[in-house]
Homo-oligomer: 263 residues x 2
Amino acid sequence: MKGRVSLHWKDSSTWKLFKYSLLSYLLLAGLFTMLYSLFAYSRQKDEMERTLYKVHQTHVPNIVDALWITDKQRVQRELDAIARFENIDRVEVRDDEGHILFTGSEPLPDAERRIETLRYEHGDRSVVVGELSVFLDIRGMALKIVNNALLLLLLQTALSVLLATVAALAFHVSFGRPLSRFARFISADEGSVSEEPFVLENRAHDRDELGILVSSFNRQRSATARSIAEINEMNMQLSDANALLRQSEEALRTSKESAEWLG
Amino acid sequence: MKGRVSLHWKDSSTWKLFKYSLLSYLLLAGLFTMLYSLFAYSRQKDEMERTLYKVHQTHVPNIVDALWITDKQRVQRELDAIARFENIDRVEVRDDEGHILFTGSEPLPDAERRIETLRYEHGDRSVVVGELSVFLDIRGMALKIVNNALLLLLLQTALSVLLATVAALAFHVSFGRPLSRFARFISADEGSVSEEPFVLENRAHDRDELGILVSSFNRQRSATARSIAEINEMNMQLSDANALLRQSEEALRTSKESAEWLG
């Protein structure tokens, strides 16, 4: 069709809609993941402090008692109990003679070490009986949060692509395609105006912006067709009248000439 | 303007878009909250089992030892330690003489009671020294999950309304309004066709579906205007020719009549 502008898919509003909605969903997902990770981090830190509080309240007195009577088996049991808490890598006790008891793996270089001096208190006396070290697995804690964030981002990216695709398809079916069909319909009879109206495939558009546009167009189109038909009709009448006039003029001219001849 | 269909806001595609996108966001939010709550519930149950495992491994042996030597103070300390775990409402020990030691509030009617018989093992001997009851706050656990779910739903509802509003506004600005303007433009000159083209306010539409529709329309419109102008021109020429013919016919008729008179 002459002069028709063809639509490249990259210029289509469906593609633009897909692009922008995907972008905004991904931005939201990023923001959400960031906030969630910050929240998870602060919760993990609180949890860690609660664990250390439990160790201080529950296990430290038991260890002090056990060290005081040099019950190594009980000290070991308490250390095992502490190591059962989450994010604790290793626990060790050094007694007043320098002997070390421990539970857990070799201390990692980036573990955070919390040290508590163990004192036996009895009346006015306070005797240092040893030192407790708790190694916190900060790296493992951070890794868990990062892994969670990556999983969340992945899920949200999949969801964003899905949502943007659904939105773009819905838009294409209800606007992109009807608009293109409409444009092709208009281009198809450029110059020659018929009274046949354009019909939208989807009845849902009957009273919305697109439906109103189409009905305005169809009304204007049929009015134009009528007025062109009227002018054409008038043209025909004028042509007929012209032909008649020419005929009668010819007749007159002939009869006038014959009259002059006679005269 | 005669016969123009006016747009009710409830029929506009902007409103339909808002409605459907809000609905689908809310459905997604509901689904997400449900999955999240199920996940949180199973995590809480696992956490509970881990806590009970810690109690069994760490505190039960200590309580048995303390009961064996009837060290009530140490039994009490162990009970306090158990009550420090999350979602544990009350802990009580009944010794072999029926005496009860406890930590925590009065047992709630809907608390779940876990009972463990305390046995002192020594070589081949196994002596029952008492019974430990741990009351789990299942109701509090469920309430926490429900509260979390409600907060999540609230946040997501707010986000859904925001997203749907932004989407609807963006759609209105880029499609709803131009389509309505276009329809008004067409309606305004129903019947009288001028060559003045319709211009989209937003240059972003230049090459998309709407831009192509508008340029097809403008081309068809100017072609129609040109052909109407041509037919009108022809009409004028015919009319002029007619007038001339009538004049010359009149002249002929007069000269013919005078010729006949003379003749």
